[in-house]
Amino acid sequence: MKETDLKRAYNNVLAQAISTSQKFLFAGNLFGDIFVLSLNELNKATEEPPSKLKVFPQGSDVDINCLAFHRDFLIVGAIGLIYGIQWNEEDETLSTKRVWEIKIPMQVDAVEVPDVNSFYLCSETETLYAGCGDGVVYQIDLEDGRIQREYRGHTDYVHCVVGHPDGRIYSSGEDGTVHFWSDKQKEPTAILEPHKNPQLLRPDWGKWIGAVSVNDDWLVCGGGPRPAIWHLRSMECTRTFEYPGRVHVCEFVDDSVLIGGEHNHVQFYTLNGTLQANIPVEHTASYSSVWQTNPFNFMSIAGFSNKLHILKDFRFLDSKIDMYGNVQDEMEDEDQEDNDEDEGEDDSF
């Protein structure tokens, strides 16, 4: 299989981010490529086809696990490493140089370099929370790149970190728990274990919690167990959602809840648990969603396929945008003129 075909068939986008100017969308995949899409093009009412994407390769050894955007640089979470790269808004280019780099410290008993799985960026305090493969949430000061604090408690790797500007942090992990943290307390303020709830448990799929999201009073989480809404103070499960797949994405969007994962649809539910919208997607599994309501409504859902799914009203699919095969200056046909010495095609090489 040719490399282009291989990438097109198995493109796995784990992370997306929107620039501070809200004009550009970044999507990073496991092949180490970051795609940049201009949102202004999408918002135009004209019928002409949207312009092509730009791609900025980070190296085939870089797995782009998560992305965040702060001021004018893009923060990339790779394996054991967080780095920032400058985004030039005028030229619409990502610099090839890493502006800064933070290494995740290896634990004493660790055998593998931990992945950086999830970011929560608190722009008010300029703090980045990174949920990592060693089960620790690292609190990083973006001013000087210092690791300010480590939140330890998970017994397996962290899937997802979210938080609230007032200092509350929530992390979910492979160990099946959601840890509630406060930046003033050393120990977790509370621990939620949805798989202990027989209503939620789906034994075939495990206890891991793939995604969590909060607003002022409520928390939604899901993974192997069914997605459900929890009240933050009483820790009661008030509503479960009938999403038929494993959950990798859940989020409060306006007054509804978006749930996505290993299923050929993503779904919007009301807080009462009724299905509002059932949106077909081409992803084998959806892994990432980003959205904004200002200056215009826009949502992009990405996952294990070569397409970004664009929603403009959060109810219906607006368009699908190809990634590989839709890039500026892409060579349609690489020159396969191979020289006589290296044919690279014989079995015995």
Binding site: M1, K2, T4, D5, L6, R8, A9, Y10, N12, L14, D63, N65, V111, E112, D115, N117, S118, G133, Y157, H159, C160, E174, H195, L201, P203, D204, W205, G206, K207, W208, G210, G224, H248, E262, N264, T284, A285, Y287, F304, N306, Q336, D340, E343, G344, E345, D346, D347, S348, F349
Partner: protein, 616 residues
Amino acid sequence: MNMEDLLNTQFVKLKEAMNDLFELKSAGHVLELKQSPGVLMFVALKHSNRKVKRNIKSGRDELHLQKSKVDLSRLQLQNLLYEVSHLKKEIVRCQKFKSRDTYLELLSDKEYAIKFAADGSDNANMSNHKTHLYRLECELRLRKELDNQYSALLTSKQELLQDNLKQTQKYLSFAPALRTLLESTKPLHDALQLSLDVEWKLSSIFKYLPRALYILFINLQALQRTKTEFASKVVGFESDQQMQELLLETENTLKERRHFTEKSTSIETVPDKSLDQVLKCHPLHIHLVIESPDKSFELILIVRYWQLLKCVTVRAQLNSTNNSNFQGDANMVEDLLGHLYPDDTGNYIPIPGIEYELQNLNLTTEKCLEYLVENGYGKPYCWLQSMCSIATVNKKQTFKHEFNLHKWIRKVFMRILKRWQSWLRLTQQIRGLTYKDVDLSISKENIYPEGLSCSLVQWTAISSEEFNIQNAGLIYNLSPSNGITYTSYRAVIVRGSAKMECFIRIPSNYPLDIPLWILSVHWNGRHTSMNNAAIKMMEFWTNSLQPSQLKKGNRLLYSQLFRTIYSFDIFLETEGSMQTVREYNKEKPYISTFTKRIRLRPYKYIMKGSTFTFKQ
């Protein structure tokens, strides 16, 4: 006082005096007294007259002076006018002037910059015109230099020609002596039974080869001396005479036809059956025999030349030297040649402008090609034309004319051999899998010493349609196949109650493209890359295996199969971690079951020092 007044007063005075005199005379007075003042008046009159005359003269002189002045200025004016008109003319002439240098073809800015980069450093501040002049100068210098070189080359060419002539004459002078020598040694040849005659006969045949085949043949002969993997011979007609007759005949028909087409420009229709006659390949063709690596087969390439199409075609034949069975290999040879180079499937005639020439004869390239293929003459591949030093254009309209024939022919042969070897290995593997005469668990490609928990229970060929129906979703994502056909297989791998179906598609241009695997797991429902990310990652891991990653001696298809089986093992061992009764226990060494948000399983196999582990 005015001259007129001056005279008038004198006249008046004179008249008065006259009148006085007259009165006095008439009165009879003595005149003498009065006469003398009167006479004196005449003197005064004379004086006045002289004065007047002088005045007039001076006036005239002045007039003359002024007049000459006027004349002078007038002359000057005339001069000026003339000058103006002259200048105007000059201006017009200047405007109409065109320098010859505009007709010159100058070097382009870029070339100029390269050639005169060193001495053109100060022309940044020169005016446009000056730069131009400077460039012209440079150009002149360059041209002079080139001219010198040209003349030098001409003289050397002349010298060489002279030299040549001299040498030829010298060698020609040997001819009679050699001829007598030949005749006189003939009995000796016969006595020693030397086979020189045979070679002569051969040479007498191949001198009738068309230019393209002749070039090929000579190069092949040269190569044959250094290598023994292949043999080439000219096949045609035995006797010289027959050959000549044949050639004459074809020439005549060609001439006739040319004559005919020139005469009748009106539309003529060539009936289908005469395509045979119109095209007509050259009566001589070349047989090329290549032996397979294991010496059990020989590949015979029959190369023909088509005068009208100006191209050569090749037909391949596979002969077994020891009569073993080789089913399904007929297609293999065609695929081998058709996909030797990408986008060179021989489905068009790659000769520049041939379609227009055929148009004159009311033929189309498609029709000719169809004829060639139908009658088993093979296809006109670009690489073949290059072997015969025929210029080609491919579909992308890139022109190619190979000159280093020696190297090229060798390259093509190496490629054919290598491809063939790959194909043989592939068929061997497929045969091994179909008849299960490979022991997977001890095969040396089996990297993991503990062996496999899954087993391959079935490997069968299926039709492409069946393959496409099964895997519509993924095929859609692939780039279109140009001229590539596929052979499909279905493999079934089983472990306990779990079953995995693999659909394998082997492209006809293997090993340019490698086999594609599509997986489908039947265990608690059907899992494919369309509905299960873990399966999709498995599939990616199998399909991402590149031939360059293989260790020496490893077989691609086997390695792919092992990858798939390990992945399936890992999948089963990591699946269902919450169940109370687990069907598959962890047997493979891996540290963490899942990593990343996608819950990636440890499909990758690594060897750290002496320990084996599976890793994400």
